[in-house]
């Protein structure tokens, strides 16, 4: 099969615009087409990941304009791992939401599917692009679709959360544009490899100003404290599959963009201290806020922020081992947090109540879903048999190798907070006395398959982390190797 990275972005975009037409021909097209496209994406990314790991990075030249001119897509081992992750998670989330709003007729479901596909396409674009302005365009695509999905339910809270997200998101895009403008005036290029090559010659003042602009904007997308005010509202007001996609698709792309700016455009040493400090503040603040929440989805959203903070810390430490831990954490976070949102929203669907208090004794009514939720909760805190253990373990080991004792103590202390509120929820589910009436909505078969496969993945990765460790080591080595990136992109034969 002739495949290239372009297909990964083009297929979901084209399908998203064709769905309204196809929906006229076949009533359920909006539900079926995304699955076909995501399955295609999954197979394409599987082929490309194999090719990247066998024979080095792929640079895709678009419309015959060789880099540094024109737009080019770059698939390095680092981005290949994340592309695979995003494609897989987009497919699983589609499967989970296959019977989403079965009772509603008309275009509502169609809009949801179109927006989900555009968000996946934009996220893949952020990960694949080798051009700074192109990245801005993809950030905007994901941003606008995420805002629209946040306001998907036409209630007052949805609109309010969407508006908040929109205010912060458009400020972020202004800063991104200003940062790109500054870099363009100084280096005369938008190609990331060429910028990286010319960056050392740029005056320090301009360089740092541009970096601050870029960090403000990408930090907003990556839920960095204090720019993350949109996240809890957006996570809790969006439809449930979308909340999962925020964690597993949007979050992955945002943290990738942050890493790409920090490691390729700039030298890692410039951003190291900042990322560690902001990552720790994000983590501390998020977990402190999570423990006071009374709403299940908001609690999960704050926990999500905490994980992003930990990933930022790991990128800040910046050794090969820390990057390995960060990649492992991103994968774990995508899988486990999606599982938590998927199972959690079945609780909410049944109880018609987002409050934690309503969860009392729900395991009697939804035994299997409760079991999966408990598994996910234990995994994300980092209990040993599950995959979440390894990411925390590797990040702590990496911090230990760099003699960062206060950081290790800090992370462990925050983990105790995290453990407290997750165990409290598990306690409510299993040991509190039941209060409300029996369940009326059993999970659909598609949702069960999706949730079970994620749970199996958590256990398999927890027992055999070596399955992916080789790939992740090579991916993190490549992120550190800036010169190879520049050489590969700029000196195409």
């Amino acid at each position: 099969m002739v495949v290239s990275p372009v297909h990964l972005i083009a297929a979901p975009l084209a399908a998203a615009f064709l769905i309204p037409l196809l929906n006229k021909l076949y009533r359920d097209a909006a539900r079926v087409v995304p699955g076909v496209v995501f399955l295609y994406n999954l197979s394409v990314s599987w082929i490309l990941v194999n090719r990247v790991f066998r024979s080095g990075p792929i640079v895709e030249v678009i419309a015959g304009w060789k880099p540094p001119f024109g737009i080019n897509l770059v698939m390095t081992p680092f981005s290949a791992v994340l592309v695979m992750l995003v494609s897989f998670m987009a497919f699983v989330i589609w499967l989970y939401g296959f019977r989403f709003k079965r009772s509603l007729k008309g275009g509502v479901v169609m809009y949801y599917e179109i927006l989900q596909m555009m968000m996946a396409a934009g996220s893949l674009g952020i990960i694949l692009t080798g051009d700074l302005f192109n990245m801005f365009v993809f950030v905007e695509i994901t941003g606008i679709t995420a805002i629209a999905l946040t306001a998907f339910y036409r209630d007052r809270d949805g609109a309010e959360a969407g508006f908040k997200y929109m205010l912060l998101g458009s400020m972020a895009s202004v800063f991104l544009l200003l940062g790109i403008l500054l870099i363009y005036t100084q280096t005369g290029s938008l190609n990331m490899a060429q910028i990286a090559e010319r960056m050392p010659a740029v005056a320090t003042g301009v360089k740092v100003t541009a970096l601050i602009f870029l960090l403000i904007s990408l930090g907003t997308e990556a839920e960095m404290f204090p720019l993350n005010g949109w996240a809890p509202d957006a996570y809790s007001q969006a439809p449930s599959p979308t909340s999962a996609a925020f964690a597993a698709v949007l979050g992955v792309a945002a943290i990738y963009a942050l890493a790409r700016v920090g490691f390729t455009l700039y030298d890692h040493g410039t951003v190291s201290g900042f990322l560690i400090a902001m990552g720790f503040l994000t983590m501390l603040f998020a977990e402190m806020a999570a423990i006071t929440q009374t709403n299940l989805k908001r609690m999960l959203a704050y926990s999500s922020m905490g994980q992003m903070g930990l990933a930022m810390i790991a990128f800040g430490i910046g050794s090969e081992a820390a990057l390995f831990g960060a990649l492992f954490l991103i994968i774990n976070h995508a899988i486990i947090k999606s599982l938590l949102f998927m199972t959690g929203s079945y609780f909410i669907y049944n109880l018609n109540d987002k409050r934690l208090r309503a969860l009392n004794g729900i395991h009697k009514r939804l035994p299997y879903v409760s079991f999966l939720f408990a598994l996910g909760a234990l995994a994300i805190v980092g209990f040993p048999p599950f995959s979440g253990f390894w990411s925390k373990f590797y990040i702590l080991t990496a911090a230990g190798a760099k003699q960062m004792m206060p950081l290790i103590i800090g992370i462990l202390a925050v983990t105790v907070i995290e453990m407290t509120y997750y165990l409290r929820v598990i306690g409510r589910i299993y040991f509190a006395k039941e209060e409300s009436e029996p369940a009326s909505h059993k999970p659909s078969i598609q949702a069960l398959v999706a949730m079970t496969s994620l749970a199996v993945l958590i256990i398999v990765l927890g027992l055999y982390p070596d399955l992916i460790a080789g790939f992740l080591h090579r991916a993190s080595m490549f992120l550190l190797d800036k010169q190879t990136y520049i050489q590969t992109v700029l000196h195409l034969s």
Binding site: V137, I147, A161, F163, K164, S170, M171, I180, Y184
Partner: protein
């Protein structure tokens, strides 16, 4: 060299001050609106002012004194060194379209907020808190 080009190069510093100054002024006015104003529509107007300021900044950065529009037309096939930088202009076109989409989305959200809350005052929208 035509007469008006001489005049432009004579007033080049002034021109720079006008272009960059108005770009910065637009951004600041927009920021003021976003941070201080309470009416939802005024917030959206502020955002779109900031966008315009950034776009103006982009076009200003790409300008080269006494150079012409970057279009290869008959008679101008070899005039590449007499043209202004086309890249910022292409970027601005994209940014304008994106800004338009964001403004449209924001206004539709404002309409929906107004229908639910019967007010467009941002201080009275406080159902979602930390």
């Amino acid at each position: 060299m035509s007469n008006y080009q001489e005049i432009i190069s004579q007033y080049r510093p002034l021109l720079e001050i006008i272009v960059y100054g108005s770009a910065v002024a637009l951004i600041l006015i927009g920021l003021y609106a976003v941070l201080v104003k309470k009416h939802l529509v005024k917030l959206v107007i502020g955002l779109s002012l900031i966008d315009s300021g950034v776009n103006l900044l982009f076009v200003g950065v790409g300008y080269v004194t006494n150079h012409t529009a970057p279009i290869f037309s008959p008679g101008f096939e070899t005039a590449a060194d007499k043209m202004v930088d086309p890249v910022p202009q292409a970027l601005v076109l994209t940014a304008i379209v994106i800004g338009f989409a964001v403004t449209a989305l924001a206004l539709s959200l404002v309409i929906r907020l107004y229908r639910h809350h019967k007010t467009a005052n941002v201080e009275q929208l406080n159902r979602l808190r930390w």
